[in-house]
Symmetry: C3
Subunit: 347 residues, 3 copies
């Protein structure tokens, strides 16, 4: 790990130092745990309460928050500076060196790029093409006729079924299953008949896929995860779904068949989508929402059935008051009724 002065670190982060410019920093840690030689950061005001007691050698903070008596680095975006510090103090090295482990089982027709690492018990089936610099951790399964783009990293125990196309610099976390059969049946006389799922999955460049997430292949055509999109763990993507570029999907969210999500969408954890929907670009789906209708660009929705989050909050506010409000309304009407001999109290 490198050691930098406060001044030098501030420069690297594009920020301005406050306090002792020569203070030496050799790492980064959470505010509650950072020691003398470490910088910390405040990216969420919830953690300001830890600042006074913190032993951190420096604190990365935004340009507005009042804070004195500490070595600071003032930056426009403390969370981005945190990211920069992690890159700086924890330089990443490849998980495995190039080479094919003897216990890996590759069909003779598999085409390998340069500097590929393939680890123990990996199975790769016929006609699959592996790009330059790809790393495949132990126990991964890759079916026939797949393509894995340059620089992609596949963690231990991932399963990629036949005909899946994976782009460049993709990262797939352990346990993910890509290209399993879509869930398609048609009922005939009370019995489900399985519809052959003859399509595939396309994962574009720079996508990341979380642990134990499942992405089913299309019945026809492709299920598509757009460039730069990130899926968290235990997400379900059904057949023929398309998720646009640069979107992010939190854990345990689920997309039913043929739904299309725009680019730069944000999907909260445990949210669910009905099938055959069109979800706009930059849409924000709050956690646990149940989306049953198309959504225009820039929508922010929550609840079940999902509606504009602003409306949902207003409804939630009234809901909260209901146990107090309804009896009061009833009472008021009774009072009015009592003073009005013609009407009769019916509530």
């Amino acid at each position: 790990m490198p050691v930098l002065s406060l001044k030098a670190l501030a420069e690297r982060l594009g920020g301005s130092p406050e306090g002792d410019p020569e203070k030496l920093i050799e790492g980064i840690a959470p505010i509650e745990k950072a020691g003398e030689g470490e910088t910390s950061f405040i990216a969420n005001s919830k953690y300001l309460k830890y600042v006074q007691a913190s032993r951190a050698g420096a604190i990365i903070i935004d340009k507005k928050t009042l804070l004195e008596g500490k070595n600071l680095i003032r930056v426009a975006d403390p969370y981005f500076a945190f990211f920069q510090c992690l890159q700086l103090f924890y330089p990443q090295t490849p998980l495995y060196e190039p080479g094919i482990h003897p216990s890996a089982s590759l069909d003779p027709s598999v085409k390998l790029g340069k500097s590929v690492a393939i680890r123990q018990s990996v199975v790769i089936e016929k006609n699959t093409r592996i790009g330059d610099g790809v790393i495949i951790a132990p126990q991964v399964f890759i079916g026939a006729d797949c393509e894995i783009g340059e620089g992609t990293l596949i963690h231990a125990r991932v399963c990629i079924r036949e005909r899946t196309m994976i782009g460049k610099r993709v990262i797939i976390q352990s346990g993910a299953v890509i290209g399993g059969d879509g869930f398609g049946y048609v009922q005939k006389e009370g019995v489900w008949c399985k519809i052959p799922q003859v399509g595939n999955v396309v994962i574009e460049d720079d996508v990341e896929i979380g642990a134990n997430t499942t992405i089913d292949r299309a019945v026809l055509g492709s299920t598509i995860i757009g460039r730069g999109t990130k899926l968290d763990n235990l997400v379900m993507v059904a057949h023929n779904v398309t998720i646009g570029e640069h979107s992010a999907v939190a854990a345990q969210a689920g997309f039913s068949g043929s739904t299309k999500v725009g680019h730069h969408a944000l999907v909260g954890g445990q949210a669910g989508f009905a099938g055959h929907l069109q979800i706009g670009n930059h849409a924000v789906i709050i956690a646990q929402s149940g989306v049953t209708k198309d959504l225009p660009d820039d929508s922010i929705v929550s609840g079940f059935f999902a509606r504009p989050h602003r409306d949902e909050l207003r409804i939630a506010a009234y809901l909260k008051e209901l146990p107090e409000l309804i009896p009061r309304i009833r009472k008021e009407i009774k009072t009015l009724n009592r003073t009005n001999p013609i009407s009769h109290p019916s509530l």
Copy 2:
């Protein structure tokens, strides 16, 4: 792939052709993508908007929808015809040829039927019996004392724990875990004591189980998935659950311990069930429902706590109006109060 005239294809599908009966069709594709030589289909009216611009050589459609100037095949159930076309144009071949890969590790006591395919790194433990024509993809684990029925297909990286009984023609998608310990503890002086889970899982004939789905074994007796039932991905089936025959369960749904579901039930995605419930035959559980009570046959429920869907929709309609309605009621009462000198405005 076969090539058929419109007339011949219509005959195969039990439908009637409209347009050029000699038009040659050699495949099937979605309406937006189908080319000259392909048929498409309209099974959901949402896709009618693509019909006019479609280059499809033919369109499979129901008997009522008005549509002119296109080659059509009119059928009673376009989705079923779609299924028939997939079978016709994509004849399925076995995923693997029979044979035992040398890297598979079978206990000497394992009994194998005829024409079994067992692929790389598969582990099968003692006394397990594998039926004729079973296909076991790479990296599958099957514990001791299991039984796998004829013609069953187990995809890569499935895990089947000891004593699991699996019927005929079952399909298990990658990453599923069948027969893991049920989640059973009893608390003693603030500490959880693990209750031995000594039962098993029984999967009846013609069941399909989705990727990364988990089915726990019973504490005593069996957790049972009934004949012909289909479970999607990431479904949770707790110990001692029974799901009846020919039901379908969408992704990420979860069943708590000892709940019993009838036959021909439909369970939506992310729905959850409390334990020890009785859910009737042909019940329909809308996505994201939280079911906390027994349900009679033919129930249709939604919401949390799940109630009849009709009621839930009515409640949702009133909920939506609440932010407008409550202030209006308040105002009205104020007006009445103002015109009524005896009562006092309390809202």
Copy 3:
């Protein structure tokens, strides 16, 4: 299996026998299925309806329920007695004998304790330390620099990524992924930049982790599962979460990043937590809750947004009445308006 008289079994369970004290019992079974030589138990009053028709040789039941004409064992806690019976009638033996299977691939730097069992195709990477009596089932992956404490049992196909610390007597069900990268990105000009996840996961003693559950490693520091805590299947624990000691988390629940849960908490299935929350000790989170705020000790919450369960039930009661109530209120106001010539009917 042992055979005991009713009297002897009652003594073992700390209960009192009723009926024939010499009745021989040689097993335990559910009330609907128990035969002559088996005891059953009633731990949930839902099952009382099966008592009269039951052929069970004895029934374990609480001290209050009226029941005659049956051999009984009266105990303070029938569920705990059930647990005792399972231990008694199904003595557990280790899943595998000690020994290293030749197909396992251990880095030469791996340090093994005494009496370790390591099965087929297991991969263990450099510097990992395995304690005495650890059992590692087939196809498990354990990354570099991990520690696995004494007596821990790791079921088939578990994945443990680098630097994970696992305590003593931990049980990990199949398919779990421990130590995958946390879901952390920072957006820069519309593109997600991956934040290196340089922390780890710490699993304390006596924890159990369910099938296909995922526990992500911390961005910095540790994601922690406290001593004695039990996680069910398909649970998601994000980076930097801490779950306190002796808590229990039902299937498909999810915890967002940096949330801290106290000890002896109970979390229902499919419940979700926003990030950076503090959840108190002994908190009870009802199934499917969406928790968005800190919760004090001993909270019982439900709903979305989660609120005290008592309030949620009251709101639910009013909600249910809404479709009847609102029209009645409207009608009442109309009647009052009609009898009051000054105001005007506006609803």
